[in-house]
């Protein structure tokens, strides 16, 4: 009588969607004692909202608000003209009080969607990296730890 389909998990009707931390892979690379490079690698078919991106550093604060590159303008039916990022997004973060050889924790808040018609809740991701010693070259790229749900409350 109630011969309806029941679709859960990897059911036939469910779109193949990535976990948010895979759709929006976050990594940090220390460039020099005063600068770290934050990067989002956005998977094909996904996008991040420019105006939802926030970065913070600890214990040293940001020397200045980070300069976000211009995004691709998207005409959203509800949000009007919004800027979005696809592919690689690289943002340089300058430390207010650099201490060569110390560690810095980079926190990124982001929110994005998939073209298929779903959106992910805002994410907060944190990466701690060691700053290079004075005169040393850039450090290694550190990827965000997977699967830790960083929701705000």
């Amino acid at each position: 009588m109630l011969a309806v389909s029941f679709t859960l998990g990897a059911g036939a009707q469910e779109p193949k969607l990535l976990e948010p931390e895979r759709a929006f892979s976050f990594s940090v690379r220390p460039l020099d004692p005063a600068t770290v490079e934050a990067r989002f690698a956005v998977a094909p078919g996904y996008y991040l909202y420019r105006d939802k991106l926030k970065f913070a550093l600890a214990p040293a604060a940001l020397a200045a608000p980070p300069v976000l590159p211009p995004g691709k303008v998207k005409d959203d039916a509800f949000f009007g003209s919004v800027e979005t990022y696809r592919g690689q997004l690289v943002v340089r973060l300058a430390l207010a009080a650099p201490t060569p050889g110390s560690t810095v924790t980079v926190t990124a808040e982001s929110q994005g969607c998939a073209d298929i018609g779903v959106c992910y809740p805002p994410q907060r991701q944190t990466i701690t990296v060691a700053l290079p010693a004075a005169g040393a070259g850039p450090g290694a790229v550190v990827e965000a730890a997977p699967a830790k749900k960083g929701w705000f409350n």
Binding site: L2, L8, P15, P20, K52, W151
Partner: protein
């Protein structure tokens, strides 16, 4: 917070009671009403509306219940909701009940509900609601996510991503 504690308790119960069955027993067609996972966890939920008044989903048990997880920051969610409003208006008298669970702040929910003339309850689930939706099949915890609960309390359908108008109408016609 009490609300958060409640949600966590519900989620834990849900995982224990339903999780294994949902993940390993679902996706097969032709299950009887007894075999399909029940929506007991969902119906056991009590959440505040934007004014703070607590509403229990169990009050709509026996109706064709369509629970939509959404948020104001989710454009595809906003896009499909006017059709829900139309369906609620058309079939509400015949036993259809939409309930929205917003992963959002009360003020924003209240404003959006007024903007589109929302004619069904919009409850505030917070991010804990997303954890609950995962136990119901929202593997990546994205929005919109919709659960259709048949009158017998079984979950008739879950949908990650927007429900197409014709799909919604067909489900209502079959289950009302």
């Amino acid at each position: 917070m009490a609300r958060r504690t409640t949600i966590i308790a519900v989620v834990i119960t849900g995982v224990l009671a339903l999780g294994a069955g949902l993940y390993f027993g679902a996706g097969r067609l032709g299950m009887t009403a007894e075999e399909r996972p029940s929506a007991a966890t969902l119906l056991a939920l009590t959440l505040p509306d934007p004014t703070g008044k607590q509403e229990s989903l169990v009050q709509w048990k026996g109706k064709l219940l369509i629970v939509n997880f959404w948020a104001t920051w989710c454009s595809p969610c906003r896009e499909e909701m006017p059709e829900f409003v139309r369906a609620q208006k058309e079939f509400g008298g015949k036993g259809l009940q939409f309930v929205g669970i917003a992963v959002d702040e009360a003020d924003k929910v209240r404003q959006f509900a007024a903007d589109i003339g929302l004619n069904y309850p919009a409850l505030i689930g917070g991010y804990g609601a997303m954890e609950l939706s995962r136990t119901l099949g929202n593997r990546v915890m994205a929005l919109p996510f919709t659960v259709i609960v048949a009158r017998d309390g079984s979950i008739a359908h879950t949908q990650l991503g927007p429900l197409k108008d014709e799909q919604l109408r067909a489900m209502i016609a079959k289950l009302i």
